[in-house]
């Protein structure tokens, strides 16, 4: 028998038994969550047959879109081992700013041809600005992103309510142009516009993360910022860009919400934080940074929406839905830990 040194090479590790190995391989597979989605639909279908209907499927698809866009932005931030808690406030703030620009009752550009494009630009700009505040605070003041975005979340959630008091007599801004509603309701070649927009964002985000220099830098910064810095990766710029991306994604989601609700409400999106971070984590993106993919996030959002919709159809109480979602997210986090262990053991 030939002898090879063992302690520090990969060759010495064992292969686990084949059933375990297959299970392990499935757990590590990119499509694990998708498999879960299919399994879940099959399991729940006898109880809520409607879930297999075209109407519910298209509802799930359109409900997914705003959440997906926010989650894509969040994926970037989670990969750099940060977290963006302010996304909900960005959605609210962008929503009321956008609505205040285009509303027919005293909007800045109300009843003009520029109302809609102006409002969309204002919303994206709002997202960019809040993202920049987050990013600069993290890199310049060296503050943990948790604290920074918790602060901006509170600030802009409050600011959004306050902003409305200057632009409306009620608690929200309504009377938005009909053409803007088209975004949420319209179709192109039979595909909802929001799905096209979110799909485009997902594809671009996927390519950026997996195939570009910037994407490589994002993973490197998340895995080990010190090593990334020594290798000449612009660590700070990368972090800043991730927060900008998260901000813009959140404001894109705001356009979908506002168009859908036909109202700029300062509390729109207030409750989606758990869903956003939960979906990304369910997908498999690590809270420890350095690991994550856009496809994972797509599957995570899909799974969460399936869960949510089926519970809604069952008429489960909101609190039951919270408990179940919380359980699933906890499970996902545990799987993340188990996966890491297993990978280390490999």
């Amino acid at each position: 028998m030939t002898i090879t040194p063992v302690a520090e090479t990969a060759t010495g590790a064992t292969q686990p038994p084949s059933v375990l190995r297959r299970l392990g391989r499935l757990m590590l597979s990119e499509y694990f969550v998708l498999v879960l989605c299919v399994a879940y639909v099959l399991a729940i279908a006898p109880f809520v047959p409607e879930i297999l209907s075209w109407e519910v499927a298209s509802n799930i698809l359109s409900d997914m879109m705003p959440l997906l866009v926010v989650a894509i932005g969040q994926t970037f931030v989670l990969i750099i081992a940060g977290i963006d808690l302010s996304v909900t406030a960005i959605v609210s703030m962008s929503a009321v700013v956008g609505a205040s620009v285009m509303t027919g009752t005293g909007g800045y550009l109300g009843d003009t041809a520029f109302a809609v494009p102006g409002a969309v630009l204002a919303m994206l700009f709002t997202g960019l600005v809040i993202g920049a505040i987050n990013g600069f605070s993290v890199i310049r003041l060296n503050m943990p992103s948790f604290i920074v975005t918790l602060a901006t979340r509170m600030f802009f959630a409050g600011a959004a309510v306050w902003y409305v008091t200057f632009h409306s007599t009620s608690s929200s801004i309504a009377n938005l142009p009909e053409s803007f509603a088209e975004f949420a309701t319209g179709h192109l070649f039979g595909i909802p516009l929001t799905v096209i927009a979110a799909g485009l964002i997902a594809v671009v985000a996927h390519v950026v993360l997996s195939r570009t220099r910037f994407g490589r830098a994002v993973y490197a910064v998340g895995a080990n910022p010190r090593a990334a810095r020594v290798s000449g990766i612009p660590v700070e710029r990368t972090i800043l860009f991730c927060f900008l991306i998260s901000g813009v994604c959140a404001s894109v989601a705001a356009t979908i919400y506002v168009s859908r609700m036909q109202t700029g409400s300062p509390i729109v999106g207030e409750n989606i934080l758990l869903d956003v971070i939960g979906a990304v984590v369910i997908g498999g993106t690590s809270l420890f940074g350095g690991k994550g993919k856009i496809v994972w996030t797509v599957f995570g959002v899909l799974f969460l929406l399936l869960l949510d919709t089926s519970m809604k159809l069952l008429g489960a109480s909101l609190f039951a839905i919270y408990i179940i979602k919380g359980g699933v997210i906890l499970l996902a986090a545990l799987v993340d830990v188990a996966r890491n262990r297993w990978l280390v053991g490999r």
């Binding site: 040194p5 302690a7 290798s231």
Partner: protein, 506 residues
């Protein structure tokens, strides 16, 4: 003659691969056994068996004549076996006394309160035994590496250890600290405590040990009294062939062009008007103790640390307010001393690490990466570096041995064809074979015309490789040695600031 520990026929395999083949050795009370061998030779496994972490498949151990078969680390501790690890197992936030008694605080009158007074008294006693003059209430965070190690030894003594195992105890110590440690080890021996001393630093092994056992591939390659084990013999036993010199001959002479010119670089408390030059094809060695400013100098040049004043020129071009990005752009490469923390992205594959510092060369329009090209350049790098695996796209670097990891770090920088390569401890923690490989690469680098600034704790290495050696002490360049053969003692003396080594250099 009595024996303290007798190990015979120790055999262990992991997952069908035998890593220990009937290893025997003996430790006598009051004696130190040096255990040497390359990484993977079986040292760690035998020590893990001794410490109760693993159980052997065959073989016996006797401690003081009694059969010794620990089932877990606790058994080993209660049998009087203590480990002093490379990474110390102290809680920096706790005080010295708390660390000593953290797993068994003495009770106050049998009540569940900590008896502070008893702890204080016992701590003072053991600290005295290791010649450590600090207050028991000092937080460990405030101690130097050397002092922390002495605290570990004190901890072993407080547990009535009969056999103390040192695993690479000197890697992070300054020279005076090493001497102090050796003094304590001598004291421990005088008290009848047995020592097992594991180290890659063969000179240290010779200085401390009474007998030496060499392991190779899980076999005992040779053993004997230290007097019959000169370093050359140890190395040839370790690598299984005789080695004349591990330092390759230089084929090229340094050129004229100055690739790095540092002038009056200052940063309060770190660097004091440091000026130096490195020419094309030249290896400049930088000797100094830990904390002397040698690594800090490298980090300042590379833009990782700030400096207050001074200028840096690379190839004649000023490098103002350097950042790593700018430094790399100017042609500098930097191998840091912290390979795991800074040199590599441990979770990334070989291929990903290979191109991480040169992404622009494998990116197309819009920054889209060319994965095929990444794979081919990484395989190319692997071949030229003699990497142990060619699965560059699948293998994560954390699964490589230290030597292979270091080759990836060097390979990653060579892709940029640096005009100046700063190497900070390039051979730390890697075995003799890999060391030679690294030396060969450094040589090839100079042959291509790159300048090298080499930092090392191993004086031998500096002497063996450098064209010039500068010594740095307390942030100042204190001496320059321009001609081979270098005077080892004088370099030491200069590096230690003329104090601890006064006797030796005289």
């Amino acid at each position: 003659m009595s024996t303290l520990l007798e190990v015979s026929g120790l055999t262990k395999s992991f997952f069908g691969v035998t890593v220990l083949h009937g290893v025997d050795f003996v430790v006598r009370p009051g004696e130190a056994l040096g255990l040497v061998g390359e990484n993977g030779s079986g040292k760690s496994t035998s020590m893990n068996i001794l410490g109760g972490v693993h159980r052997p498949e065959a073989g016996t151990m006797r401690l003081d004549g009694q059969a010794y078969a620990p089932q877990n680390p606790k058994d080993a501790i209660s049998a009087g076996i203590a480990f002093i690890h490379q990474e110390l197992n102290l809680f920096p936030n706790l005080s010295v006394e708390e660390n000593l008694f953290v797993d068994a605080f003495p009770r106050w009158n049998g009540l569940p309160f900590i008896d502070r007074r008893a702890i204080r008294a016992q701590t003072e006693a053991v600290l005295h035994e290791v010649d450590l003059d600090i207050r028991p209430s000092t937080p460990v965070a405030r101690l130097s590496q050397g002092e922390r190690q002495l605290v570990e030894i004190a901890k072993a003594l407080s547990r009535k250890a009969r056999l103390i195992i040192f695993d690479e105890p000197t890697t992070s110590l300054t020279r005076p600290e090493v001497d102090r440690l050796f003094g304590i080890i001598a004291k421990l021996k005088a008290r009848g405590i047995g020592i097992i001393y594991i180290s890659h630093a063969l000179e240290d092994v010779l200085a401390v040990c009474d007998s030496i056992a060499v392991l190779r591939d899980g076999h005992l390659a040779g053993a004997g009294p230290a007097s019959e084990m000169p370093i050359g013999r140890m190395i040839s036993l370790m690598v299984g062939r005789s080695i004349d010199t591990i330092y390759p001959d230089r084929q090229t002479a340094p050129g004229k062009q100055v690739v790095l010119a540092v002038e009056a670089l200052s940063q309060p408390g770190v660097a004091e008007k440091i000026s130096l030059e490195v020419r094309a094809g030249e290896i400049v060695g930088l000797a100094g103790l830990m904390g002397s400013g040698r690594s800090e100098l490298a980090r300042m040049i590379f833009g990782l640390d700030r400096f207050a004043s001074g200028t840096i020129r690379v190839n004649g071009q000023p490098l103002d307010d350097p950042t790593p990005e700018k430094a790399i752009e100017a042609g500098i490469a930097f191998l840091t001393e912290d390979r795991r923390g800074e040199g590599l992205l441990m979770d990334f594959t070989i291929a990903e690490n290979t191109v991480i510092a040169s992404l622009d060369s494998v990116a197309g329009p819009l920054g889209i990466l060319d994965n095929k090209r990444i794979a081919s350049v990484s395989r190319e790098m692997g071949r030229s570096m003699h990497l142990s695996t060619d699965k560059v796209e699948e293998t994560r670097v954390k699964h490589l041995s230290g030597g292979n990891q270091q080759k990836v770090v060097i390979g990653k920088w060579l892709r940029r064809e640096p005009t100046l390569f700063i190497l900070d401890e390039p051979t730390r923690g890697i075995d003799v074979g890999a060391k030679q490989e690294v030396y060969r690469i450094i040589n090839a680098l100079t042959a291509r015309g790159s300048g090298v600034l080499l930092i090392s704790s191993e004086i031998e290495e500096l002497i063996g490789l450098s064209d010039r050696i500068l010594t740095i002490s307390r942030g100042e360049i204190v001496a320059e040695f321009n001609n081979r053969p270098f005077d080892r003692e004088a370099i030491m003396a200069a590096a230690t600031g003329q104090r601890a080594w006064e006797g030796a250099s005289a």
